[in-house]
């Protein structure tokens, strides 16, 4: 059947059946779904919606960590995690958030049908899941969410900066409600984890981090890609049972956010005495500390990374440049010489040596020697790469060498004059 016929058949058939149920039936249905999910009905000026709450007491552990241990993370560590010196994020006034949506492509027709939030009440942790049991409950859910956010100042998410938060902002806008999220400080743990484990772990997903940091494997977890179709099926059939694993998935995600921030926070408290950081992580940590101006820690991290394949070359370069930046010239020189001897970024090290001898030590002989050797290395490289080689490299070294030679000859002339 083609489109217009389908439409015609549909319209003639429609008159015969009564599509809508009565209002009281709908209320009963909502109550029974809520009951099944273990939730309560919440009344708002925009209507009712289902909310499911759970409290995790002080001693509760997830992934081997007590949830409330997160509260011990100091403001300095939070700054490190966000790589932001001015952030003010008090975990006592912060909401951990994760949403489940009707599509991954985004756009204004994608809804967040389940919004999970968690926060501390004293040392216990309350997890609240706001659920749209039908699409018209969105304003009610957003209203409750907004009301809750009034009590908090910060957010912790995993990939929320790119995904959950813009999506919620769009939902507030479409429902003509003021957006409470704009003014909140936001710590996106995906970014924190990528900054630290980006070199060592192939994938920085929440499940990969659970595996590698907590040695935890979720059993019977719903794959994220199947969640939209589960929800659509529920909307059509109003059978809430396939939703239970989705609620569980969302809950686990939020608990893992707490454990992840705790794990990373504890490790950063004692970076050199922890099992959490390994191998390539130290290169990443070196960069983080360097960016945050914590040079001593940075030097220590880079030193550890000098022995790690894959980041070794970059660690040598970074460390030597950091010494240069800190004015620790002897150590820098030693490192560059070592690099030349061991064949690590030779051309770079030789040019740095040449700069050092020319400008600081003012030993032009040595400076010229280093520049000449740098030129040799560059020529070797050109022979290997052919026309793909960057010509400007060679020209720059030549210019440097010419300048040094000129300074040398001037120096000799002056000596001659004095004599």
């Amino acid at each position: 059947m083609n489109l217009s016929e389908k439409l015609k058949n549909f319209i003639t058939a429609k008159g015969k059946q009564n599509l809508s149920g009565s209002a009281s039936e709908e209320r009963d249905e909502l109550a029974s779904i809520s009951h099944f999910l273990g939730g309560n009905l919440m009344d708002t000026p925009y209507g009712r919606h289902i909310v499911i709450e759970k409290v995790f007491e002080e001693h509760f552990c997830h992934a081997g960590l007590k949830l409330c241990a997160a509260l011990e993370i100091s403001p300095e560590i939070i700054k490190l995690l966000t790589k932001n010196l001015s952030i003010e994020l008090d975990l006592k006034k912060t909401v951990f958030i994760d949403t489940e949506t009707t599509g991954l492509a985004g756009g204004s027709g994608t809804y967040a049908f389940l919004i999970g939030v968690g926060y501390f009440e004293g040392n216990s942790f309350r997890l609240v899941q706001y659920f749209m049991s039908d699409l018209d409950q969105e304003p009610a859910v957003l209203y409750s969410l907004k009301k809750l956010f009034c009590n908090f100042k910060g957010l912790v998410s995993f990939n929320g900066k790119a995904y959950d938060i813009p999506l919620l902002s769009a939902r507030f806008l479409i429902n003509r409600m003021e957006d409470p999220l704009e003014s909140m400080a936001h710590l996106d743990l995906l970014h924190s984890a990528r900054r630290i484990f980006g070199e060592r772990l192939e994938s920085i997903s929440l499940s990969s981090l659970e595996q590698h940091l907590f040695f935890m494997e979720r059993k019977d977890d719903v794959p994220g890609s199947e969640i939209p179709s589960i929800y659509f099926r529920y909307l059509r059939e109003k059978d809430p049972s396939p939703l239970k694993p989705v609620f569980h998935h969302n809950q686990m995600d939020i608990l893992s956010l707490v454990s992840l921030i705790t794990k990373m926070g504890q490790a950063l408290y004692n970076p050199f005495g922890t099992e959490t950081f390994k191998a390539q992580d130290f290169y990443c940590l070196g960069r983080l500390y360097e960016d945050m101006g914590m040079f001593e820690n940075s030097v220590k991290c880079y030193r550890k990374a000098l022995y790690v394949p894959g980041v070794k070359d970059r660690a040598y370069r970074r460390l030597s440049l950091l010494f240069k930046r800190m004015g620790r010239w002897d150590e820098a020189e030693k490192l560059w010489i070592q690099m030349v001897q061991e064949g690590i970024s030779q051309q770079f090290a030789l040019i740095e040596l040449s700069k050092l001898y020319e400008h600081r030590v003012k030993d032009y002989e040595k400076a010229a020697l280093a520049a000449r050797r740098a030129l040799e290395v560059a020529y070797d490289k050109r022979r290997l790469l052919g026309r793909y080689h960057d010509r400007s490299e060679i020209e720059e070294i030549r210019k440097r060498l010419d300048r040094i030679l000129l300074k040398m000859s001037k120096g000799r002339e002056e000596q001659v004059k004095i004599i």
Binding site: N2, L3, S4, K6, L7, F10, I11, K14, G47, T102, G103, L104, A105, G106, G107, S108, G109, Y111, D134, L135, D136, Q137, S169, A170, L173, I174, P228, S229, F232, L235, R236, R387
Partner: protein, 753 residues
Amino acid sequence: MNLEQLLVKLKNSDRFKKCVTRWEVIPPKPGEYEPFPDYLDKRLISALNKKGIYSLYSHQAKALEEVTKGNSVVVVTPTASGKTLCYNLPVLNAILRDRNTRAIYLFPTKALSQDQVAELMETIEAMGEDIKTFTYDGDTPPSARVAIRKDGHIVVTNPDMLHTGILPHHTKWIKLFSNLKYVVIDELHTYRGVFGSHTANVIRRLHRICKFYGSNPVFICCSATIANPKELAEKLTGRPMTLIDKSGAPSGEKNVIFYNPPVVNRQLGIRKSSLLEAKDLALEFLKNGIKTIVFSRSRLAVEVLLTYLKDGMKNTSYGSEAIRGYRGGYLPRERREIERGLREGQILGVVSTNALELGIDIGGLDVSIITGYPGSIASTWQQAGRAGRRSSVSVSILVASSNPLDQYIINHPDYFFGQPPESGLINPDNLYILVSHIKCAAFELPFEEGEKFGVETTEEILSFLESEKILRHVGGRWYWMAEAFPAEEISLRSASTENFVIVDITEEPKVIGEVDRASAPMLIHEEAIYIHGGQQYQVEKLDYEEKKAYVRKVDVDYYTDANLAVEIKVLDVLKEQLRQQESSKYFGEVLVRSMATMFKKIKFFTHENVGSGPIHLPPEEMHTTAFWFTVPETLPGLTPEDLKAGLAGLCNVLVNIAPLYLMCDPKDIRGVIHVKSPFTQKPTIFIYDAYPGGVGFAERLYQMDTSLLKAARQVILECGCDDGCPSCVGPLEEVGPGSKASALRLIQGVLAD
């Protein structure tokens, strides 16, 4: 010699005069001017003064006045009459008054939008004001997009991008939509048929989003001359329009000459090649330093002509570099350079496809030579309009090819000069198109009960989509209920936008141009001579998967031309009905397969065939819907030749008149005849939708076939021509003698009334 002198020379040349079938002189017209109105911002006036503009043409002043009053307008004026000011003036004036004002400019192609941005920027720079104009299309880097969404006063884009990139993400464009005061639609006449119907629905979606954010923009449309600009603009935008079609721009005397190349073989009636005649005519002007544009119908013809003209100008003081080619497939940078060269005068002559027919600013030219009838009256006037100065004489010469349609037009100049240009037809309520955009609209914002989307039956369609589980009806609204992103599955155009890139490997590999997917098998098969800017390249390897052709510079004395075989295969009959006797009608799904089979090597200048070769490329296939019907195989007194002429003629009439009933463009449907169809075993006429999947045209034709055949009969009976013309069965040379009578017999045989 100057142009006037040359014209006198041509008038006195017996050889030239013998070929002229019509020499129409359009007298000069003085300009009508208006002073700048007092509400026009002083900064804008002084920027215009800097460009040498001290008053407005009457149509510009009228457009400014109407738009400022809040009325939507459609401006129809000739090429180079300063139509861009008709929208730039009111828009810039409003932005100067209130910096929150926002505008969207829609252009049908990317090339046009880049050109317009450049001109707008110049005016803005001349004012020294901080008004931000950005192009937002597929090429805009993600890093620039955030700034455009927030700060762009004028966002220049195309309907496709509005459809997939902007409307579905409207929350990111809150600033634009809350302050949208103007929507500019340039080249209105290109929004015809299916493309126009899609765009009309995109604009319906735009209205919904604007309403949500509390804005109600004024529309400013510009169109080339068509029969129904006001109607088209109103249907496209859903807004009442004020028509401004009286140009105040002055124009010099204009000569329009119809030229039929001389017969070279009287027995066979073979005429001299239109390409070679166009070359000789163009050189006559170019050698005298007269700025000339030569239009030709295909990209290949552009390059062949360019080769000839460069060769002809080689030993003149202007040199071969003064002649350039211009067509789709040149890279944007090269095109900008050519446009600038034309405006600034370094380029004397240009050979172009209809790419330069649209409003790209190339300044005034003196002569336009149209090689082959462009296929429509409107296009012919557009191309002729490229030649035309404000005060001096200009000339347009239509050089006919031996194609039957060309021969008809050139031999019946009254037909051309007496007809209004074609209408732009659209049907925004086409069910297929409408339903696909209702899906997109529901994704963007839920539908409220009682809300109308173009048609009264909106609610029925919403309920239907609900029953198909695509929408959900709850709490008095219809919500989008699918994972998919609907706009991405709906293309506004028939042709895919995929391109093949052409890589020159003579030295270091570099990309020199591109070819659209549909033309690739014809133009860049292996061994083809690909000509670019007059330089020949031979295709060494065509990587069909990766969409790359590797070419190497060559210097040979031939070019290549490929043959395309099109066949239609019935896949599924969805409906059939025996009309009576031996005639049945069908509606069903078909596969249209076009395949490049072989190529010929054609020698330059003599156009001899000097060799050929096979092409081994997969066919291009399109799955679509078709309407077909059989006619009785034997009618008393109808010879096989008569049957064939009758079928061809009847098919032509039906394809000519069907767009009026379908409200589509003639290019949206195609007709094919089979004297004995392998499927029906009978003489058969097929008419199919030229869109993948079909858009409901064939189905509609199946339903209304009786009235369509009756209308065809009336057209043939009422047509005053002797034995066929483009308005009825087609030119005699194409369909054969006696087509009119045979077609009438066939209709009689089918209808039997």
